[in-house]
Amino acid sequence: MKSYDGRVNAVDGISLDIAKGEFVTLLGPSGSGKTTTLMMIAGFEEPTRGVIELDGEDLTRRKPYERNIGVVFQNYALFPHMTVERNVAFPLRMRAFPRAQQAERVREILDLVGLRRFAGKQPRELSGGQQQRVALARGLVFNPDVLLLDEPLGALDKNLREQMQVELKRIHREVGITMVYVTHDQTEAMTMSDRIAVFSHGTLEQAAPPLEVYHRPRTRFVGEFIGDSNFFTGRVDSAAPGRVELDGLGTIQADADACQHLAGAPADVLLRPERLQLVRDGATLPNRLAVKIGVIVNYGDSVLIIGDSGGHSVRIRIAGAQPDAVREGATVTVGWKVGDEHLIARS
């Protein structure tokens, strides 16, 4: 737990176990406490209460330079007065690696990030992507136990960012080091992580593999923050198994097991837009809604329909080209299978 000014807790009640070699992403909007958490792991912030352990060893009161943890910053933070080579060698010098091995280790790590040719350059002579690779090399060169990355791709443009995501995954696989990655970009989190830890208002909402976070969010916040979503409120019927009464939209059939835990309780019902299908004549979907189409956004490979059903906004994503029946102002019937929905207990 970390509090500033003793008033508002920046982060509170966070408990997260990270396995050796894991790639964990701390995901959340700005101000959610993900960076504060990262800075506490690095040792730049001291928790007001709580402990940080590594391999069973208490790190909480150890200074950053007494920890064996590498950090990569969003703005690279390369030393402007040193060449690429000297930047990367810096941790080795400070950590008193044997001199003879230093040069070889620097060469090795520059090969890993593909920057061997640039060893003699000044940081300002490199592009943003190259500078970030140098920062990565500097963070990895001394074989840290953990590498922390604070929105490292935030300053790059979209194409370069995707390229660097692939690159980072490759390096993670090759080196096998534990990485803790902070980002507010959910796509980045989805594509790179072994596990995503979703932060909101200084608390940890859920920590789970990407697909679980996507399909079975533990809270409504997580469901809304990650991916596109439809949320309806309702109440699980305690008498009939698998029946949920949606507010203003009637009764739907839901997964009976999920309903059992929530019998009689109010629930948020999540339906991902791509799970909704246009219902053609004779189709046998148990759940149906009539949707009046408002806006159509055509992505080429898919179509996003934003419509209205009984005063509720409904988003539908259809793969492929835009069907003939889908026109702005038209009314279509959409449906979904039992189990496409996800129920979240509402407190």
């Binding site: 933070a77 400070m94 001394f142």
Partner: protein, 256 residues
């Protein structure tokens, strides 16, 4: 086009009196005369050989160097404290640091005269050094705190996570990155002392005659054309100093 013409005229108006001094320094006239009746280097020879001028020059250099050192010792820690920490009365502290810039030099001079007199430091190099060191605080503080504000503290964090403790972080990262800004601050402090006349006249006495004080006395008593030589050299020194400062600035902005 008109704004350019106005700007050039303004610059000329400001610069002309200074530039007039340059030909006069090569003049053969026995007093100040413009245009010069003829040209020679005699007064330069006189300046560089006369004890009467070289001693104040040396005094000025020694005092400026000492004042610069004193200023830096005060300003560097003050700027770190001011930029990096939040504390009560911060605005007041800023105002106090800037005070020497606002208070008229004559008033400061009078105050230093009383204060340093009691410490038996009037008429000594050390006394002028101390006074000049104080006067240079605002300009050095402005330059150095601006440099410090532009400093990315993630560099220090990167150094620490690389295994460098606070001292090695400062030596290997903070100081080298801030060096151009520090040098500019120091240079300005040096020039501010080297060019200062009022306080020197008040507390320099006979024991610590600085170049500007000597020039003032020389103008009053004898209108010696050597003054034109000294002026030319002084202006050249200042121009050189500012050019150095500008190139340091450019290098530091490139680095950041």
């Amino acid at each position: 086009m008109l704004p350019v013409i106005l700007a050039v005229l303004g610059a000329l108006f400001l610069l002309a009196p200074i530039l007039v001094v340059v030909p006069m320094s090569f003049s053969t006239a026995i007093s100040f005369a413009f245009p010069p009746p003829g040209y020679w280097l005699g007064y330069y020879a006189k300046y560089f050989t006369s004890e009467e001028w070289l001693e104040p020059t040396l005094n000025s250099l020694v005092i400026a160097f000492g004042a610069m050192t004193l200023t830096m010792l005060l300003v560097v820690p003050a700027a770190f404290g001011y930029v990096r920490y939040r504390f009560r009365g911060k605005t007041l502290v800023n105002l106090l640091i800037m005070a020497p810039l606002i208070v008229p030099h004559v008033v400061s001079a009078l105050a230093y005269y009383g204060f340093l007199g009691r410490a038996k430091l009037t008429g000594t190099l050390l006394g002028v050094m101390v006074a000049h060191g104080m006067l240079a605080v605002p300009v050095a503080f402005l330059v150095i705190s601006a440099t410090l504000k532009g400093f990315d503290q993630n560099l220090e964090r990167a150094a620490m996570s690389s295994g460098a403790g606070p001292f090695r972080t400062f030596v290997h990262v903070t100081l080298p990155v801030l060096r151009p800004g520090m040098l500019v601050g120091a240079l300005f402090a040096f020039l501010s002392s080297f060019n200062e006349a009022v306080v020197s006249i008040f507390i320099g006495g006979r024991g610590a005659v600085t170049l500007p004080k000597k020039m003032y006395e020389s103008i009053r008593l004898e209108s010696d054309p050597v003054i034109a030589v000294v002026s030319t050299l002084l202006v050249s020194a200042v121009v050189l100093g500012v050019l150095i400062a500008m190139s340091l600035r450019r290098r530091s902005t490139h680095a950041a």
